[in-house]
């Protein structure tokens, strides 16, 4: 590495010298010395931190003719999302498939069968494996083919590139970094471009990033200032950071070189960067220089690697698998041992009638033991079912479509239903123990309405005209009120502040509309509506409009507003100090027509109050707090006049900070901080955010279902608390345990000490004094004696998680476990994820679920076991990152209590059933070894061995696992308590597993010994003829197929026609197949073992009788158990509910409602 760095250094050191000659010739005014120095700096900088920045030569022009042009190597603009090519598909795909442990296991078995002389032909395990592998390969190949097609569509898309003065059409994939690309309206950008030129006069263009983050509003992007209109003359380089996936971050610098001047430096930010995948809107044409291409574009970087979530069921499967593997190994071991013990008796190993081949005689004893062991493994390997993986996958894949298909999840407003991003977690929906919900947009509608405001301490309520939301009752009512209360000047200042301090856009007029006349401007704007990243802002602008001040739009950095007198005021927008969740405020600096420079700032009370004068705060604080407890979202508005000097200084430092390549954010924050001080508080606003439909019912249902609901919000405590009360998470008798900055400060001592003290106190109250039944495991559902609610805020949380206090975390969690609801307010997005992780990793690792709708919830959605996105108003990031997305919070109830519960029951049955049926499949085979001299003689014919799991018994369980409703969805939803029945992986714990295993063993023993008893006299036909070993196996197999299928039929509580078809169909197919298989002499078979065996079997009355007897006998305990288990409370309840539901349904159908 040092060598290479040295190498580049030398190379570049010589470069400027070379270039200097040329430079002189062209009469370049740049001093050679500075050139060298700058070049060196840059090169050193690059040498030291290759990862830090990249240099792009716009249009491939050299930095200066004085410098050699060594085009740096970047990847081309080809998007490769496909995994395979035609050539590497087979090896690569196979390799990937065999990396799965199950496939690998079967491969090994197959290889053993090929190599060693084993009882069953390699076909029996090879064919199913081949089938599984082929199906998967075809599926993946097809998907990859689609990807290839999509890639090609993108890569071959023709684009216009300005190349050496001519514009040429190229295929998109041929774009190189530094190319100047032209993009027309409604085209997508072929790579990440820095905007150089726009057809719009103001140097802006509009872009929609719907395909990237789902936000469909038009975003404004700006050209790099001071660029020649003729791009051919442009000679510039561009330095920017190395590609990184954050869509909203970009820092760079552009050096624009003009003849005879020092290069002009312009800073570049995300507003200059057009992302690949975004679409140009409302702008006829733009040109930009490619900075990131192909796989280095932000889009490409973003689509890589979303971590896979795995469900608990899979963990259970793996546990069971280990058990079965042990059973398999011990069976093989027992058989091998017994074989050699048995063979030691004289005459048993090699009686005269059964001589070994020469090869067998020559084999080494120990090698033979080993191959015998392997042979037994192969013989019993069916105990670990290949098909289970296939069936589970299929069940998940098909099952998840029921969520997408559910009409109850359809929301007419957004015209969308539920979305399933992953089908791996269906059953996890039935296992949720902790629900983490966002407040804004999730519990509440995020549909803001301006309720009231307060100017200088006077309250203004838009009372009289509240009903006319869009009305213009401005002239008298509010104006009079305003005059009565605060000075007119202050009111207007306040309203102007509301009109100016935001980033709202007015929707573009349609193409047909002519210029609007002045009087109607406001109405026109109103009709077109506003677009903003936050609905609060729209609410405020609309609120101001009701009081007479209308925002007409932003044009060429001029904000137009219409004041009460229908006059248009224009302000130059100088700077926007953007909103961010850390500062929790935003500001604008504008210059009025009168020449005054004003800074308007609005933000959360805590972030504004310290920055204004104390006496102003006094007047407004009570209002803010009252509004907050009423559940409104409050914002404070402040302003500040900037003197010319102050502005000049601020302007300079802002520009400088924006040019910084490193730590730009930090520097900007510092300047913002300095600017936003010493302001004057004008007033506060209150915006109502209404609860989502059925939020209360949903929360209640979730709590009844035994889930702990945690509300995680960035909002302030009072607002959040009132929301919690509103949706009944807290009730009047709930005792609130508060752990916030306020309670910490109250004690007057050091924060940490106080924190510990409070924690211990709460712990005593909520955990120790609480009745022991409320412990985590038993999950008693009586909300018995005293409910506790816990409140913590972000600051306290970070204090709690910091090292000295972190040992109290478990204390904190214990308290939270015992509280009915927990409210975490003032949370930063990462803190939300932190909390989720904290809970996720507690003892017993409870299943967590996060619900959110906004970008700030993404981290917690990704962190939780199950992430649910609400298709709300705040963009689509949450939906994109979620596992499931539903339009409304209320849908959560059906999703969890209905679908989740059912999916869990279905998959649990599927898994248990699969293990069970293979146990009783293989057990007779194992027992048979004791009667055939441990010779690995299979009991069943190869065809049966192969088809058992694939054809005879797979479809009924698949149908069951798709359609079973042991309790119908309505009842599940109405009785949330039922959810507790499956809580904590109830059906896949060791108890049920042992039950199933015992059943399998019982039935296996019964099948074998029942038929064994019958075969004491193998003359079973009425003509005295005898049956052989294949008849024996076929009887056992027949009994087994019927028993196993009927066992499932016994467990099926919901018989649709599909269940009927599949269950009876499977049995019929078995019979048909057996006839067919035994009815023909198959030329490709070496031995016609089953020739007419089945048909002959059915001609024997005894065989019929024994089949019937054994089926009944093996199902008897199951029936008994089901019957005797019934009298349990929940079942009675369930029965009653069902009958009442049926009555209800009957009633409805009788009255003709349905």
């Amino acid at each position: 590495m040092p060598l290479r760095r040295g190498g580049t250094l030398v190379l570049h050191c010589t470069a400027p010298h070379q270039g200097s000659g040329r430079g002189l010739r062209t009469g370049d005014g740049v001093d050679i010395g500075t050139m060298i120095r700058r070049g060196l700096d840059r090169l050193l900088g690059r040498g030291e931190g290759r990862a830090d920045s990249r240099t792009v030569y716009v249009g491939h022009g050299a930095w200066s003719p004085a410098q050699p042009f060594t085009p740096p190597r970047y990847c081309d603009n080809r998007i490769v999302s496909s995994k395979y090519t035609l050539w590497n598909f087979l090896p690569k795909n196979l390799f990937e498939q065999f990396r799965r442990i199950a496939n690998f296991y079967f491969l090994i078995i197959f290889l053993v069968q090929v190599i060693v002389d084993t009882p069953t032909s390699p076909v029996t395990s090879g064919l199913p494996l081949f089938f599984v592998i082929t199906v998967t390969a075809i599926k993946q190949g097809f998907e990859d083919w689609l990807r290839h097609k999509a890639d090609n569509e993108v890569n071959k898309y023709p684009v216009t590139v300005l190349d050496g003065g001519r514009s040429t059409r190229k295929e998109s994939e041929k774009i190189r970094v530094g190319d100047v690309v032209e993009v027309l309206e409604d085209e997508t950008f072929p790579c990440d471009l820095v905007l150089l030129q726009s057809s719009r006069d103001d140097g802006t263009c509009y872009v929609t990033t719907a395909s990237l983050d789902g936000e469909s509003n038009h975003k404004t992007h700006y050209t790099v200032p001071d660029i020649e209109t003729d791009l051919l003359l442009l000679n510039a380089t561009l330095e920017c950071e190395q590609p990184q996936p954050d869509l909203y971050k970009f820092v760079g610098r552009m050096y624009i070189r003009r003849e005879g001047q020092e290069p002009a430096v312009r800073s570049l930010g995300p507003e200059n960067l057009l992302l690949k995948g975004a679409t140009l809107k409302n702008t006829s044409k733009i040109s930009g220089v490619a900075v990131y291409t192909g796989m280095e574009t932000k889009m490409a970087l973003n689509y890589q690697g979303k971590s896979q979530k795995r469900s608990v069921v899979e963990k259970s499967i793996n546990c069971f698998l280990v058990v079965y593997l042990c059973i398999l190994l011990s069976k093989a071991l027992v058989c091998t041992t017994l074989k050699y013990v048995w063979q030691r008796q004289p005459g048993q190993d090699e009686p005269w009638y059964n001589q070994k081949t020469q090869k067998e005689k020559d084999t080494d004893l120990y090698l033979k033991m080993f191959t015998d062991f392997l042979s037994f493994m192969v013989l019993f390997n069916f105990i670990i079912p290949v098909s289970m993986y296939v069936t589970v996958e299929m069940q998940k894949f098909l099952g998840s479509s029921f969520i997408t298909w559910d009409r109850d999840f359809y929301d007419p407003q957004i015209q969308e239903g539920a979305l399933v991003n992953t089908s791996d977690l269906n059953e996890e929906l039935g296992q949720v123990e902790h629900v983490f919900t966002d407040k804004t947009g999730t519990l509440t509608q995020n549909n803001m309405e301006f309720i009231e405001c307060c100017i200088d301490g006077f309250q203004y309520k838009y009372g009289n005209c509240a009903s006319e939301l869009d009305g213009f009752c401005v002239e008298d009512g509010p104006v009079n009120k305003l005059q009565r209360k605060a000075g007119r000047e202050r009111e207007e200042l306040f309203l102007r502040a509301l009109c100016l301090c935001h980033t709202v856009q007015v929707k573009e007029p349609g193409p047909g509309l002519g210029p609007v006349d002045q009087v109607d401007a406001a109405r026109a704007v109103e009709e077109r509506g506003f677009i903003a990243s936050s609905p609060d802002e729209v609410a405020l602008v609309k609120g101001a409009m009701r009081f007479g001040f209308s925002f007409l739009g932003l044009d060429c950095m001029k904000m137009k507003i219409q004041n009460r007198n229908k006059e248009i005021e224009e302000y130059d927008l100088l700077h926007v100090l953007n909103f961010d969740p850390v500062r929790r405020r935003m500001s604008v600096i504008v210059k009025s027509e009168a020449g005054e420079t004003l800074l308007f700032c609005k933000g959360a009370d805590v972030s504004i109050f310290p920055r204004v004068r104390e006496e102003e705060v006094m007047r407004i604080r009570t209002h803010v707090e009252r509004n907050a407890t009423e559940g409104y979202r409050t914002l404070c508005v402040a302003y500040k006049k900037l003197s010319t000097e102050a502005f000049a200084q601020a302007d300079a430092s802002l520009r400088e900070a924006r040019l910084a390549l490193q730590d730009r954010e930090e520097k900007l924050l510092n300047i913002y901080d300095q600017l936003e001080t010493g302001m004057n508080l004008i007033g506060a606003t209150a915006v109502e955010d209404r609860l989502q439909e059925e939020a209360t019912v949903t929360m209640e249902a979730l709590q009844n279902a035994g889930m702990k609901v945690w509300v995680l919000t960035g909002d302030k405590m009072e607002t959040a608390k009132s929301t919690c009360y509103a949706c009944r998470l807290f009730q009047r008798r709930t005792e609130l345990l508060e752990l916030t900055v306020r309670t910490l400060e109250a004690g007057g001592q050091k924060c940490e000490g106080r924190l510990h003290e409070l924690l211990l106190d709460y712990h005593r109250r909520a955990v120790q004094d609480a009745p022991p039944a409320k412990g985590g495991v038993s999950r008693s559902w009586s909300s018995a004696v005293q409910d506790y609610g816990f409140i913590i805020d972000g600051a306290t949380l970070s204090l709690l998680l910091k090292p000295p206090s972190s040992r109290y975390t478990s204390l904190f969690l214990e308290i939270c476990q015992n509280c009915a609801a927990v409210l975490c307010c003032r949370m930063a997005p990462l803190q939300k994820a932190q909390i989720v992780r904290l809970v996720k990793n507690t003892k017993g690792s409870p299943i967590t679920l996060s619900v959110g709708d906004g970008a700030n919830d993404v981290s917690m959605i990704l962190e939780a076991h199950v992430g649910i996105g609400i298709k709300g108003n705040e963009g689509r990031q949450a939906v994109r990152n979620s596992d499931y997305a539903v339009p409304k919070l209320k849908h959560l109830r059906k999703l969890l209590l209905g679908h989740g519960h059912l999916y869990y029951v279905r998959i649990a049955q599927l898994v248990q059933y699969f293990f069970y049926k293979n146990l009783c499949f293989i057990l007779p085979q194992f027992l048979y070894q004791f009667f055939c001299g441990y010779s690995q003689q299979p009991l069943y014919d190869a065809a049966y061995l192969m088809m058992y799991n694939i054809c005879f018994t797979s479809m009924p369980i698949l149908a069951y696992s798709l359609f079973e409703q042991h309790i119908c969805i309505e009842i599940l939803m109405d009785n949330a308590i039922l959810y507790r029945e499956v809580a904590r992986n109830a059906s896949l714990r060791w108890g049920p597993f042992l039950h199933w295993t015992a059943l399998g063993i019982y039935q296996g023993l019964l099948f074998f010994f029942g038929v064994h008893c019958l075969f004491r006299n193998p003359a079973l036909q009425d003509n005295g003829q005898v049956y052989g070993n294949w008849s024996f196996g076929t009887i056992v197999f027949t009994v087994m197929v019927f028993t196993v299928t009927l066992k499932l039929a016994l467990d099926t509580r919901h018989w649709t026609w599909i269940n009927h078809l599949v269950i009876w169909g499977s049995l019929a197919f078995y019979v048909f197949f057996s006839f067919f298989w035994g009815g023909i002499i198959w030329p490709f078979l070496k031995q016609q073992r089953l020739y007419f065996v089945f048909a002959n079997l059915l001609s024997s009355v005894s065989a019929w009788l024994v089949i019937i007897l054994l089926i009944l006998l093996s199902l008897l305990p199951e029936v008994l158990l089901v019957v005797l288990r019934k009298p349990r409370a929940s079942h009675i309840q369930q029965l009653k509910m069902r009958s009442s539901a049926r009555k209800h349904r009957d009633f409805l159908s009788n009255t003709g409602v349905i």
Partner: protein, 369 residues
Amino acid sequence: MMASSYSAKEEDGHHSGAPGPGGVNAKSRKPDNTAFKQQRLPAWQPILTAGTVLPAFFIIGLLFIPIGIGLYVTSNNIKEYEIDYTGVDMSSPCFNCSQNYSWNSTKPCTCSVAFSLDQPFESNVFMYYGLSNYYQNHRRYVKSRDDSQLNGNLNSLKDPSKECEPYRTNDGLPIAPCGAIANSLFNDTLELYYNDPNGTKIPIRLVKTGIAWWTDKHVKFRNPVGDGSNLSAVFQGTTKPVNWQKYVYQLDTDPDNNGFINEDLIVWMRTAALPTFRKLYRIIEKQGDATPTLPRGNYTLLITYNYPVRSFEGRKRMILSTISWMGGKNPFLGIAYITVGSVCFFLGVVLLIIHHKYGSRSNNADIAS
């Protein structure tokens, strides 16, 4: 993944960007209201309760007990007589034969066992030979055959399957029929004589056809078809199995029971399920209505003792049995049916009691709620 999801997202964007009045659009997005997709398929929802299962228990009980009794009686009515003629004891008549046995002895060893039947065997009597501790179901043994050779395939006749090793060839000639099973064909000859009270031994006619499955005899096993009708010509170029004394075309004089379609061979080739088994040897047909097939009296079993079993502690038996509709004598089914029937009946009674108690309890609960 990336590019394909890309286009999908794009579409999304368009829709949410312009949620215009798209009636058609709305329809296409709303999930179909089919019973299947809404998981509302009409369904039968059975619930197993004591009430519903009770009748089933009683019915099973009431059905099974008579069937069981019928089976038991039938099985008991079957006459069966069994003789072990291995010759393990010094006293047994075949002791000598079993002792001085060697494969290549030219002179067959014969012995006769006398026995008497206390009861007459009325209907057709079936004569079985039984072997014990004989692992016909050993894997190496089971697979040691060539079904296509036995099916008359000429190629297989000359070139038997490798599965037949080490009984595939002998002295360079292919063995017909090849394999361990055929090689170890049971070759004792059993003859039965009725000792008339007046002292004469009347040989009883033993029918040697009809002992193999019809399909085996007619489809699965076929003699190879050669140029001539002469079997020995067809089998030219093959040799007899190592342990056989005759060639396969010398098994019987009857051309329909010779070669591969010899029924003794076919029966033997159907490998038994368990190490103790019996195979049908001969059938003694009922002569007329008047006399029983085997009247009460003394009999002599004349054995040509060829088959060695002492080396592996085996036993040889001769079994005479009549047959009923359920096959040979086996009390197991009858007992099992009676037991299961009684258990079901008993459980039915228990459940009835429980149901009474529980039923009244649930009624109370109903009233209470």
